[in-house]
């Protein structure tokens, strides 16, 4: 699916200390254009911190970030955005009482000038929003619907669609499928495939290991602030990933079920 030409992102030797806790210790991460990388690890393993470093929300103590082989330095989320790194926040990016199109265009609404006054170009906004959603295969009947009336999966799709519309090089998603119904998970995963097929590199943070096997090309496992393993998805199994996450041979029932294709649709 992806050719390993040049890396879209290369993070090298990233370290971050919060007081006595070394949250990230010499972590490296790379991702190719259009690749979907699953970032997994137990709570506190450092995956969120690592994603925050890449999205500019956390400034690391050490380490370098390269995007398209150019060294960058992110001091704020705005810096990361300027470098086309977008982060999809769980439920922080939508306004409930504004309609779908309004949310997709929040902060960059198209305007038309009428007698020297800038007014919202609502028709264009709805037309563009409809086209945008169609392109991404997101099913929303009416872009005039308020976001509060949508299901969790539709809301998540809007949030992802919004991030994807900024023409990102890298899209970071933190638990996009948490608390969604089965069909909705499927729709969100499909959306991730659509986005990555357009050449966007996706970093997917999730606790739902079945999802990884459905969309990821590769996974990277974090353990206590270190990056401990990297596997091509075709060369690993849920059992191995669970073992890597907990750091020992793990035989709980949640680790059972080897057949990864049917893991999620059951």
């Amino acid at each position: 699916m992806t050719e390993k030409t040049t890396d879209r992102v290369r993070m090298t030797g990233i370290s971050k200390r919060y007081g006595p806790i070394l949250s990230l210790s010499d972590v490296s991460l790379r991702i190719a254009p259009g690749e979907v990388l699953g970032l997994v690890g137990d709570n506190g393993a450092g995956k969120s911190t690592l994603s925050k470093v890449l999205s500019g929300a956390v400034v690391p103590d050490a380490g370098t970030i390269e995007i398209d082989e150019e060294t960058v330095r992110f001091e704020t989320p705005a810096d990361a955005r300027a470098a086309h790194v977008e982060m999809v926040y769980q439920d922080l990016s939508l306004c409930d009482t504004i309609d779908v199109a309004g949310n997709l265009f929040l902060g960059r609404e198209p305007v038309r000038r009428v007698a020297g006054v800038s007014l919202l170009d609502k028709r264009r906004m709805h037309d563009d929003a409809k086209a945008m959603l169609e392109r991404l295969g997101i099913v929303i009947a009416d872009t005039r619907q308020k976001v509060e009336n949508l299901s969790g999966g539709q809301r998540q799709s809007i949030a992802i669609g919004r991030a994807a519309s900024f023409d990102p090089k890298v899209l970071i998603m933190d638990e996009p499928t948490a608390a969604l119904a089965v069909a909705e998970v499927e729709a969100v995963l499909e959306l991730i495939r659509t986005v990555s097929a357009r050449g966007v590199s996706v970093i997917l943070i999730t606790h739902r290991l079945q999802d990884l096997f459905l969309v990821c090309d590769r996974i990277q496992v974090m353990y206590e602030g270190r990056s401990v393993a990297e596997r091509k998805i075709s060369e690993t199994s849920i059992e191995e990933v669970v073992d890597l996450i907990v750091g020992r041979k793990f035989t709980a029932r949640s680790a059972a079920r080897g057949d990864r294709q049917e893991g999620v649709s059951a």
């Binding site: 609502k122 009947a141 009416d142 308020k146 539709q154 995963l189």
Partner: protein
């Protein structure tokens, strides 16, 4: 492996689309339930007074209602923006009093009237900016900041006038703003109409209006969208204080005097009009049409009770009851439309 999933996704898509239908007329009515209920209320009140009194439904009386309610309409329009951001402005009555007192004082000193008007509007904006600064940038709750403002600003007005009412010469063009007519309609009514139309335009058709709603719904999302939410919040308070100043100018002109006791409880009347109109005190949901209807309802009740030879002291009782009933209706009748509010 992702090819297998593509099929699966397609299978799921029709199911998902069937779950959401296009908004029907009923949906739209329910969604605007708060406006619908106040519209019904307004019509009922008007019909009632038209039947009970002979003079209610006459042109002079209706124009008189609008003239008298102009300050309320003007400030309520701006207050709708404030409340939609999830804030509140308790200081508008005091700003109105300060402007009444100060404009009368300045006119007495011989300051030219156009200069007085400009200065008062600027003063209003400045007061709003100061309060907005503490609310938006220092993150002190709007209730606290404007409660302090209510006290301080009224105090300043009292200090300036020494508690006395200051007369404005009746030949001053300043009085025209409050008393004269233009094309058969009182000038205050024209000003109120212009303010409402402007507010309607700003609220529903500009980015600023969009962000006002957004801040009330999820300020963090708006901030992350790259909008300067603090400046937007500050601007909302600038507008509400400037509107209060404009209302003060009109009131001083109409009464022909400036009193530091003007507008006692005005802020509550304004908030009542906005809330009756269906704007949510929790923010994120505002309606300018609702505010217009809410303010007119409050005004009509006051006027109608007097025409019906009832005690004017009934007005606050009826207004209060209507606030409760209107909100209760919104909660009950339109619960599904507006969720948790």
């Amino acid at each position: 492996m992702s090819s297998g999933g593509t099929n699966e996704g397609a299978l799921h898509a029709p199911a998902a689309s069937a779950r959401v239908r296009r908004a029907t007329l009923r949906d739209r009515f329910m969604e605007n339930g708060s406006v619908a209920s106040i519209a019904i209320f307004f019509i009922v009140v008007c019909v009632l007074f038209a039947v009970v009194t002979s003079s209610f439904l006459t042109t002079p009386n209706l124009l008189n209602v609008i003239r008298q309610s102009a300050p309320l309409l003007i400030v309520a329009a701006a207050m709708t923006l404030v409340i939609t951001t999830g804030g509140i402005d308790l200081s508008v009555g005091s700003v109105l009093a300060l402007v009444c007192a100060l404009s009368a004082t300045l006119l007495q000193w011989g300051v030219p009237w156009p200069l007085v008007i400009v200065a008062m509007l600027l003063l209003g904006g400045l007061v709003g900016a100061l309060q907005g600064f503490f609310i938006a940038y220092e993150r002190i709750p709007a209730f606290i900041v404007t409660l302090a403002g209510l006290s301080v600003i009224r105090g300043v007005a009292l200090l300036i006038t020494g508690g006395y009412s200051i007369p404005i010469a009746t030949d001053s063009p300043f009085v025209v703003l409050g008393r004269e007519w233009f094309l058969g309609v009182p000038i205050p009514a024209w000003i109120a109409l212009a303010t409402i139309l402007l507010a309607l335009l700003v609220f529903n058709h500009t980015r600023f209006g969009r962000y006002v709603t957004g801040i009330g719904a999820n300020s963090e999302a708006v901030r992350r969208a790259g909008v300067d939410t603090r400046r937007t919040t500050l601007m909302v308070y600038v507008l509400s204080s400037a509107a209060a100043a404009l209302a003060g100018i009109i009131l001083a002109g109409r009464l022909g005097s400036g009193s530091s006791n003007a507008g006692q409880g005005f802020e509550l009347e304004v908030i009542a009009a906005v809330v009756i109109g269906g704007t949510s005190l929790f923010g994120g949901r505002g309606t300018m049409i609702g505010t217009l209807l809410g303010a007119l309802t409050v005004a009509v009740i006051g006027n109608g009770l007097i025409l019906a030879h009832m005690s004017p002291f009934l007005t606050p009782i009826v207004t209060g009851t209507i606030i409760l009933v209107a909100i209760w209706l919104n909660f009950r009748l339109f619960k599904n439309a507006s969720r948790s509010r």
